[in-house]
């Protein structure tokens, strides 16, 4: 087994042609992902979701993806055919989306949806797929897999839905999982359970996890490394435990805006943005 990075991204750019003009969503992002937990933090519109979708080749038709290099192991994702991409999606790189209320198909039963993720990548028969699905449901700590297998998505709560989503994305056993705000739509009480499940599965299977979030605290406690994004660019990359000691103005600004239980603040400070952060840093930067 090789120890090289799972994902290599160099100078990734995503731009959209809209009726109102060209929008640069991602502007020169570079990073690598190994068998680790990598957090990507940023405000809305900082380009973190677009980065995740560009890796999977799922940018809408009016979008344009360019990069010096974008590879999964040795596979060039930039010039891969749709066939190759389909084989990579789900089987090697998968994604857990934000809100199970919208990301599960309302007219297909839970079991069939999970099974499908398995069946598109194997020659397995229905019975094996069913067994694997029930196993996965049990693995995400669903107490009654048989019942949930037959249930419809609208009969599930948010926490259940997200566990189903995780089961569905893990069933082909991918090497990389992109979690795009996996807990934002959940209650605080359920959030920790779902994260624990995700954490266990990633640990047990030795996957690379790309955790996209706007929650600094969550990322700091959950991830090994953190990338801070702003305006489609990477502000800085640092170890999660060094987050509090960051020297970058943007990161420090974000940290200051967090309410703390030990701080007695009447009003939270408003982030002061420095236009210099948006200046194109150009390729070749580490």
């Amino acid at each position: 087994m090789d120890d090289g990075p799972l994902l290599t991204i160099e100078d990734l750019r995503v731009r959209y042609r809209t009726p109102k003009g060209v929008v640069d969503a991602v502007r020169g992002v570079s990073f690598t992902l190994g068998r680790e937990r990598l957090g990507i933090v940023g405000e809305s519109g900082s380009g973190k979701t677009q980065t995740g979708r560009a890796i999977l080749g799922l940018i809408p038709r009016n979008g344009e993806v360019r990069a010096r290099r974008m590879a999964f192991r040795d596979v060039d994702l930039l010039n891969a055919s749709e066939r190759t991409m389909r084989r990579i999606r789900g089987d090697h790189i998968s994604m857990v989306m934000q809100d199970p209320k919208y990301s599960l198909n309302p007219v297909i039963t839970v079991g069939k949806q999970i099974e499908e993720a398995f069946l598109v990548h194997t020659r397995a028969g229905r019975r094996e797929a069913r067994e694997r699905t029930l196993e996965m449901l049990a693995a995400v700590r669903i107490r009654n897999p048989e019942r949930v297998y037959r249930a419809w998505p609208h009969e599930m709560s948010g926490g259940m839905g997200q566990r189903i989503m995780i089961a569905m994305m893990m069933i082909p056993n991918p090497e990389v999982i992109i979690a795009d705000e996996p807990t934002s739509a959940l209650d605080v009480t359920v959030r920790m359970q779902v994260l624990a499940i995700l954490d266990d599965m990633v640990g047990e299977r030795g996957m690379g996890l790309m955790m996209i979030s706007h929650d600094l605290n969550l990322v700091a406690s959950f991830c090994d490394r953190v990338i801070i994004m702003y305006g489609g660019q990477i502000m800085e990359t640092l170890d999660a435990r060094d987050l509090g000691r960051s020297s970058h103005g943007y990161t420090r600004g974000l940290m200051r805006c967090l309410p703390g239980i030990d701080r007695d603040a009447e009003t939270l400070p408003v982030l002061q943005r420095d236009p210099a952060w948006l200046a194109e840093q150009g390729p070749g930067r580490d």
């Binding site: 999606r89 599960l104 309302p106 598109v120």
Partner: protein
Amino acid sequence: MSIANAAGRPRAAARIVGGVGFTLLLTFIGLTAVTFVIGRVMPADPVLAVVGDRAPQDVYDLVYRQMGLDRPLYEQYWRYLEQLSRGDLGTSIMTARPVLDDLIRFFPATLELATIATVLGVFLGIPMGVLAAVRQGQWPDHVVRVLGLIGYSMPIFWLGMVALLVFYANLDWVGGPGRIDVFHDGIVEPVTGLILVDAALAGEWEIFDNAVSHLILPSLVLATFALAYIARMTRSFMLDQLNQEYVLTARVKGVSEPAVIWRHAFRNVLVQLITIIGLTYASLLEGSVLTETVFSWPGIGQYITTSLFNGDMPAVLGGTIVVGVCFVGINMFSDLLYRLVDPRARA
């Protein structure tokens, strides 16, 4: 978390059927009340229509009493309901035959036409709409949209006449007006009233072919409307569904694009389309007077219109009731089908 357990499902089904039955009853009462009131409010005097305007006063009074018009209104309505429940729609003044017998003759012609037009509209319109949505903004989309606009806004009588002129009068590819050529008329025993079915049952394939050649033009003309509408709605429903998150989920799983479209998005489109198809079918059954007139098609639209011009109220009301029942029936059916396809509507 609430999971409808297996034991609860038959009970839920019974509740749905019960609910639909109740709605049906209410609708039917409303329908009969409205037709009844129309029949009484219309300025056409039903007695005069029977006795003629030269009849002496005592004859007029006699018929007036015979028709029960001297009784209070609620009693008349009750009698009307009684007659209806016996299948008695009254006697047509124009044909002097029971309205029901007339309708049994005229309605199958419309049923045949409307069914074929709807089937054509569904089987051509849905793929066209899906194609347009999937290739949004590209040439297939533009073609479908322009065709849809033309089909939707084309005056149907003009289209019918041009079609007759070109394909019947000039090219002689198809049969002309009417359901069948005169020398084939009355040979096949009417069992269902649908000439295609009757001819097939009797094994008269020459008559079957002839009927088909007569059906082609009117059903195509009628289908343009159904097709344009269904294609347009399919396109917009599909565009809406393709932007949903679950479609992205399916793509993330590595599902192929045709499966994303048909297995994932289209099932959700179908839920919405059922209502649209039902309404289209019902509106075509209602009698497409213009098409039936242009093609001399002896359907219910022509029957009701002719009766109306002759002040034949029993015929008009009887026809209205039949059309109303069809409308309610189709709506009920699409409602049930909708619940079958959409698990969320079953709860």
